[in-house]
Amino acid sequence: MHSQTMQPSGPLVLVVEDEPLIRLNAVQMMEDAGYTAIEAHDAADAVQVLETRPDVRIVFTDIEMPGSMNGLRLAACIRDRWPPIEIILTSGAVIPAATAIPDGGVFVPKPYSQDQVEDALHQVAPSNHA
């Protein structure tokens, strides 16, 4: 089997997703891809995590989330406060306009496959393992 024995040690990814099942699965996908993952359940939670974890290199966030900030606003906030962090956006709704995706950001439609997630991760920040 492919991952149980692997100790992820690649770049740190913050997964932001309000739906627990999808979040759990996304975290697993990141680890299977050789990245380390931590999680946040909404944008405000994500900002708190980012304030204490300067080692986060990639934020993988859903666009539609409850709370005052959706994924697009979170992305804009990250661009402003933590410019070096790479952003991957995902959504089950309409694909956002190119202008809504921050510079260098990547969009992955839901439901996403392991391959799509890995392509997106490699595009923004190659893992040491990959």
Binding site: M1, H2, Q4, E19, L21, I22, L24, N25, Q28, E64, S91, G92, A93, V94, P109, K110, P111, Y112, S113, Q114, D115
Partner: protein, 337 residues
């Protein structure tokens, strides 16, 4: 209110007392007061405004002061927008505007309203005397349509979120039990199924175009350069869009794994023709190894055998030149829900 307008004393206006009016003006007046649509007219040198009770919401607080006033004074705030339309109507053009957005204060607060209306010239002895405006408030219909679009968007979003959750459950349940290739196959089938929803969403979930659905599925797996697609425009229902999308996905996956697309020169031609009774779609692989009957009949084979509409009509030929699959679907089934 109609009584009120009917009892209005026109003597104080440039039109003079009603019993002195010309037959043309009298007829215009009767038409306006008789119709259930919001209607108004202008008449004479001052373009004096006449309107019925249904037109009052249009005016809001301007009523009743507007009755018998020159139209350019009544609509002074939007006159620059209306004047060109009135001029066109007076020049003999039938001016017809649908669902024009107007912000109005008719209940004490600004309101978004929509109106469909028509301006036409009124004549007396061949001379243009004014214009007739017949209108209907379409606010409710416009807002309902917008609401419907939002609902479709929300439904699509929910379907795809639900599919994401199904994917998460399946993947976590299969963890340690299935190999990566099996999970990948599942992922891709689920995505082919989900991608049909993107196209359906753009068409309000009612119908889709066959070619759009098929190439949407094929592009994801084999890329646009390695297949050709050709056939007459064909509308399919949402249900058929889903089975067609899965069918294209399975055919493409097989071609890539075992068929023509294992060879660098291999290609696929997908064509269909229609007659009164049926649509016949042909998937023809060429340039690859000879096709062989699969050793085991898995879920993928069953999906292919289910055909375009999920009810059969598939004929597979394993030939020297590659796989040829013919799918026949009665025309009537293409739009079945």
């Amino acid at each position: 209110m109609p009584d009120h307008i009917d009892q209005w004393d026109w003597a104080e206006t440039p039109l003079g007392p009603k019993d002195t009016w010309s037959p043309a003006l009298r007829t215009t007046y009767d038409i306006i007061m008789g119709t259930g649509f919001a209607a108004c007219a202008t008449w004479g040198d001052d373009q004096t405004l006449i309107y019925n009770a249904a037109y009052i919401p249009f005016l809001g607080a301007r009523h009743p002061a507007a009755l018998g006033q020159p139209i350019h004074e009544v609509w002074s705030d939007v006159w620059h927008e209306i004047a060109p339309l009135i001029e066109r109507a007076k020049a003999g053009e039938r001016v017809f505007l649908e669902n024009l957005r107007l912000e109005m204060t008719r209940n004490g607060y600004p309101e978004e309203t929509y109106w469909t209306f028509s301006y036409s010239a009124l004549r007396e002895d061949g001379r243009v005397m004014g214009i007739l405006d017949i209108a209907t408030d379409t606010t409710a219909a416009v807002l309902a349509e917008r609401n419907q679009a939002l609902l479709v968007q929300e439904a699509t979003h929910r379907v795809k979120n639900t599919l994401s959750m199904v994917q998460a459950i399946a993947k976590q349940s299969l963890r340690g039990l299935a190999d990566r290739a099996t999970v990948k196959t599942f992922d891709e089938r689920l995505q082919a199924f989900a991608s049909a929803h993107d196209i359906l969403f753009r068409r309000d979930w009612a119908v889709a175009d066959l070619q759009e659905i098929l190439s949407g599925a094929l592009d994801k797996i084999i890329g646009p350069d390695r297949y050709s697609i050709h056939g007459p425009a064909t509308t399919i229902s949402a249900r058929v869009a889903q089975t067609a999308s899965l069918l294209a996905h399975e055919l493409a996956t097989n071609a890539l794994k075992y068929g023509a697309l294992t060879a660098s020169e291999g290609t696929v031609d997908l064509t269909w023709t229609k007659n009164q009774e049926a649509l016949v779609m042909v998937w023809r692989e060429s340039g690859g190894p000879p096709a062989t009957v699969p050793m085991r009949r898995g879920f993928g084979s069953k999906l292919i055998e289910a055909g375009l509409t999920g009810t059969g009509g598939a004929a597979l030929r394993y030939e020297e030149t590659g796989l040829t699959a013919e799918f026949t679907a009665p025309i009537a089934t293409l739009l079945e829900r």
